[in-house]
């Protein structure tokens, strides 16, 4: 966040709650940033991914069986991303 990390663009973890099916791999790989709630769904930290954890974070993203985890530049709420269409879901 504002601790002077010299990352060019801050990366944040983000969960697509519709896609997530509580496999929990993300919390196993990245307990520093992901906790599971009592139902097994991830609660991700809203702080930027520290540089030292970026590789692990990328791995967690790649290994999510539901492709529900992503890394996005900047604050989660301002990340540009195309809204998924219903028609493209089926």
């Amino acid at each position: 966040m504002d601790d002077g990390d010299e990352t060019v663009t801050e990366q944040h973890l983000r969960v697509d709650p519709v896609a997530c099916d509580a496999f929990g791999y993300c919390a196993e790989l990245l307990p520093e940033l992901v906790a599971l709630d009592e139902w097994g769904y991830p609660v991700v930290s809203d702080r930027a991914v520290p540089p030292a954890l970026l590789d692990l974070a990328r791995r967690a993203v790649a290994e999510c069986p539901r492709r529900a985890l992503s890394l996005a530049a900047g604050k989660p709420s301002v990340t540009p991303k195309r809204v998924r269409l219903a028609s493209s879901r089926r």
Binding site: R14, P17, V18, D37, W39, Y41, S77, V83, L85, A86
Partner: protein, 436 residues
């Protein structure tokens, strides 16, 4: 529910015709409000866009988002957008969009045409669930009148998406319009417009558009001449629950909640007042001086929301009522997101056990932990609303919470439900056999 419009004791704008006994026809509408605004040319569009921005009109569907921000965004798209008029009104306690469409359909249609012109829309789709037949009929009649006089530039299509609590959530409505099943979508960036096939979509609540129609006619200074400085204009509210005259009325924003209740002939101090909607918040029954405006309500953890003002009778149990409302919201969950699918039934059960005096020693701590962990983790705001309601119940009914936590039920637990919760079974059945 009852949808009688009570006699207006406040400024009537949207309901100016109906409150003076006038019909919903085009002639009366034009007589009272003047000709529908015509927006031909960029200068006219910029003029109205400026007035709209200065007016401070906010969305009346529940979120209260500044209307111009959405309109501006859509006006800047390359492809011609589709305007979805949202009259889904999924709040079981709300009737204001229905009443508005039944009594002033032309005002909503004027606003839709104005907004459509501002964003250079391709066409307009007006969404009213089949269950709200009176409103759909009024719109059909109004559309036929307008077609005969050829006053509309944009084609309006009437659609009947399935009625559900979350069907009117804007991404759910866009999903339905795109041929999907009408479920909320995950939208990490609200700054990117939604799309139907490849056309960008603007979703605007019906009441919001009626306000736009008046700003386009009379300007922002007129709009701001009533209401509170930080919340100008009027708004429609649905007063329901333990009141002599339930129904929809138009009030200036900033009107003390107690005045609104007096107009609806509430004679005894309520046990609590539900504000906004089922995903809203309780305030104390003695806290009636609070102005009905976003800023004042925010201080109490409440919001104007969809304009519901629900009166809990003095003898009822606010916790039992909240348990039923949360159970209803849990039933209405689309079941897409884990924290909502599993979290809301768990919260409802905690509240019910608490209300019936069957709390285990760990209940309160568990409930508070659940209320901490659920919000902000769903595709739509349904779980956040349910949590807001539950939080406010623990605060406003703190005395009952303390009593019930010591396993003392109250006589109010058996009180008949105050607010409609279609489909929710009689509570406490689920605790049978598990009671320790």
């Amino acid at each position: 529910m009852t949808t009688t419009t009570t006699t207006l004791r406040s400024t009537s704008r949207l309901l100016a015709v109906a409150d003076n006994g006038g019909g919903p026809d085009l002639d009366t509408h034009v007589q009272v409000h003047g000709d529908p605004p015509r927006l031909t040319g960029a200068a006219a569009r910029d003029g109205v866009l400026g007035a709209l921005s200065r007016s401070g009109v906010t969305g009346r569907g529940g979120a209260g988002f500044p209307t111009t921000r959405k309109v501006d965004l859509l006006a800047r798209q390359r492809r011609r957008p589709v305007l979805l008029v949202n009259a889904m009104e999924g709040e079981p306690a709300s009737a204001k969009d229905r009443v508005l469409l039944e009594r002033a359909p032309h005002l909503v249609l004027d606003g839709a045409q104005v907004t459509g012109a501002l964003i250079r829309a391709d066409h307009i789709v007006l969404c009213i669930p089949a269950e709200h037949g009176g409103a759909a009929h009024a719109v059909q009649v109004a559309l036929a009148e307008r077609a005969r006089r050829r006053i509309d530039a944009l084609h309006v299509e009437l659609a009947a998406p399935p009625a559900r609590y979350a069907a009117g959530e804007e991404s759910a409505l866009a999903d339905w319009a795109a041929g999907g099943s009408g479920l909320p979508m995950f939208r990490p960036d609200k700054g990117v417009p939604m799309a139907v096939r490849r056309s960008p979509v603007l979703v605007q609540n019906a009441e919001t558009l009626a306000h736009v129609a008046l700003v386009a006619r009379h300007g922002d200074a007129w709009y701001r001449s009533v209401g509170a400085p930080d919340a100008p204009g009027t708004t429609l509210v649905t007063v329901t629950g333990a009141v002599q005259r339930p129904g929809v009325m138009e009030v200036e924003l900033g009107t003390p909640v107690g005045h609104i209740l007096a107009w609806a002939e509430v004679r005894r101090q309520p046990g609590g007042v539900l504000l906004g909607g089922y995903g809203g918040a309780w305030i104390e029954g003695s806290d009636l001086d609070v102005p009905f405006s976003p800023a004042a309500l925010r201080e109490r953890g409440a919001a104007v929301g969809a304009g519901v003002i629900g009166v809990l009778p003095a003898g009822a149990c606010g916790l039992a009522e909240t348990a039923r409302l949360v159970a209803y919201l849990a039933d209405e969950s689309a079941g897409q997101c884990g924290p909502c699918t599993f979290g809301l039934p768990a919260v409802a059960e905690d509240l019910d056990r608490l209300a019936m005096g069957a709390a285990d020693p760990a209940l309160l701590e568990r409930l508070r932990r659940r209320l901490e962990v659920i919000p902000g983790r769903g595709a739509c705001g349904l779980p956040d609303g349910a949590v807001r309601l539950a939080h406010s119940a623990l605060r406003v009914f703190a005395f009952d919470v303390a009593n019930h936590a010591r396993r003392r039920p109250c006589p109010g637990w058996a009180h008949r439900p105050t607010f409609p919760t279609p489909g929710v079974r009689r509570m406490s059945l689920w605790t049978t056999g598990t009671r320790r």
